[in-house]
Symmetry: C2
Subunit: 330 residues, 2 copies
């Protein structure tokens, strides 16, 4: 019977949304990924999400049973079920639980996306067995999920872990949040693109990036140029690493973690980013932490850790069948 039971996990990302049907062992029995269409508003998005979930269910054998649904989303508070002014989605305040309940008759739990990714990594990923770590998602935006003494740190309003909006550069770039110098303005995908533009304005070296239309410049293109040896593009990642490592060292001083886990699209830059990052991170660490805090890289494709974490969060929120309590890390 337990092999027929599953939970639904959703990662609502600024660019893509991932739906996963996850069984008791943390295996994906079905998965769909699609571009997050935000412009038609949250109502249309929720409608499309519910339709896709029903279509996925229709393809499963009749005796499969869905126990509930966990949703990971940016700027969402688990206490209210609301997304609060998500900069990367362009919506106002959105009550995900009540909107989805109009379409789906399931227990629903919501959680901040980076918090969900942290739970997923602790349950099944590179952080399995760790009790104190900081997960940071470097993607369209930047978020973090903090595990302290084996528990997710959620904060008083469920909004803890806004690492992306900690100050990395004093009086630095404008950030989407209205403040200046946030980590997100430098080490997110868009931040990397902005760093390329800044360097192109600052350094008189020629770069393959000059051939791009401004509006077409992306962090992926900067990465590809760096891989081909473009010196300006390499400098962009060196600078990104230098800025990011200071903020990571601050997190280390704050949390005394066993490790820092990085995930998200920006991490696909691999050693172009990670080699300078690990070097500068070690130099930046407070002496009592030097040599003790490895930077680990998520092994999951985009969204999967958050999907898994969303199902684990759901499991903490609902009354589960007995065999789930003993067999799942949730």
């Amino acid at each position: 019977m337990e092999n027929r039971e599953f939970t639904v996990g959703v990662d609502l990302g600024g660019t893509n949304t991932v739906i996963g049907f996850v069984n008791i062992h943390g295996d994906f029995i079905a998965e769909v990924s699609f571009a997050t269409q935000t412009k038609a508003g949250p109502g249309k998005f929720v409608e499309g999400l519910a339709r896709r979930i029903k279509e996925m269910q229709d393809k499963l054998p009749d005796d499969c049973e869905c126990l509930g649904m966990g949703i990971a989303a940016p700027h969402v508070s688990y206490t209210t079920g609301k997304i609060v002014a998500p900069a990367n989605l362009g919506w106002g305040e959105v009550n995900l639980i009540s909107m989805l309940s109009d379409h789906l008759d399931l227990p629903i739990a919501v959680l901040n996306d980076a918090n969900a990714a942290a739970l997923g990594e602790m349950g099944y990923g590179v952080a399995k067995g760790l009790r104190d770590f900081v997960l940071i998602t470097l993607g369209t935006g930047i978020g973090s999920g903090i595990i302290a003494n084996g528990q997710l740190l959620v904060g008083a309003r469920g909004l803890a872990g806004e690492f992306g909006h900690m100050t990395a550069v004093c009086d630095g770039r404008e950030c989407g949040c209205g403040r200046r110098g946030c980590v997100e303005a430098y080490a997110s995908a868009q931040g990397i693109t902005r760093s390329a533009l800044e360097l192109m304005s600052d350094i008189k070296t020629s770069t393959v990036l000059e051939r791009e239309k401004f509006s077409d410049l992306t962090s992926e293109k900067v990465f590809m140029a760096a891989q081909k040896g473009d010196s300006l593009a390499r400098e962009v990642f060196e600078k990104t690493a230098l800025i990011l490592c200071g903020s990571l060292a601050d997190m280390a001083a704050c949390f005394d973690p066993e490790a820092i886990v990085l995930s998200g699209g920006v991490v696909r830059a691999g050693n172009t980013l990670l080699k300078p990052l690990r070097k500068h991170f070690e130099e930046s660490l407070l002496h009592i932490f030097k040599g003790q805090i490895p930077i680990l890289i998520s092994k999951y494709p985009e969204g999967q850790a958050a999907v898994l974490g969303a199902t684990l969060w759901l499991q903490q929120s609902i009354e589960l069948p007995e065999h789930w309590k003993t067999n799942s890390p949730g």
Copy 2:
């Protein structure tokens, strides 16, 4: 009987050490404060500490019973009992538990001083009833104790909460820890003195501080000058507030706390510091936290919150008589 039982709490500070005998209700039944003499080394200090505790015990009625001792100290790890290279004490690595055990036959628990102050404030002080807050000690050094979901955040090695060594100013002043721009280099007592010197070099305004010998300049003197209307001294506190509030806003983004609690000698500057601090803090907060995170001020004289917290930490570490479990917030 329970009125005859007490625990010993010690706050080993960079300037002063406080010993308190604390009963089940959190009342001080005896208290001694003395200058921390560090130059003769940790052996002599521990000897003097043990002697003072015995002298205090000798003055109590014979039937008084000491249940154990909790010590709050800078850079101490509760897991090893060791003080690790404490910049403000000038000692090497010191194993407090084993050194004290040579003099006192008591269960001993140690804890980082700011962590202890956080426990003390949660148990008996301005943070009573809060489950998510950050306590920051602004004194000779700067530390923090973080309470998340009602629990002390200790980290993997018991070294969490090094707020004083988070970066406040990029490429800023040298800090005693070997890094640059740490909060401690600006908002500690010494940091305030350094800011006065910096402003005296930078601004051609006259100030009463010019009459001081360089070696006699202290944060207290800067504060007294500010109170008398000295414009340079006032500017020092305005700048201190501006730098500190950015780091406090970062902590808010990280922890989503109900409140931030400030304690330590620097807080005695009162509204000279707190008025600009509260104003700039509100401006610096990420939009989702604006208007929601009050800055509270500890009501305890120096060291008392840490002494109380050290006794609460001891209570979590030893087997207590049954009536302590129900009557104490520990």
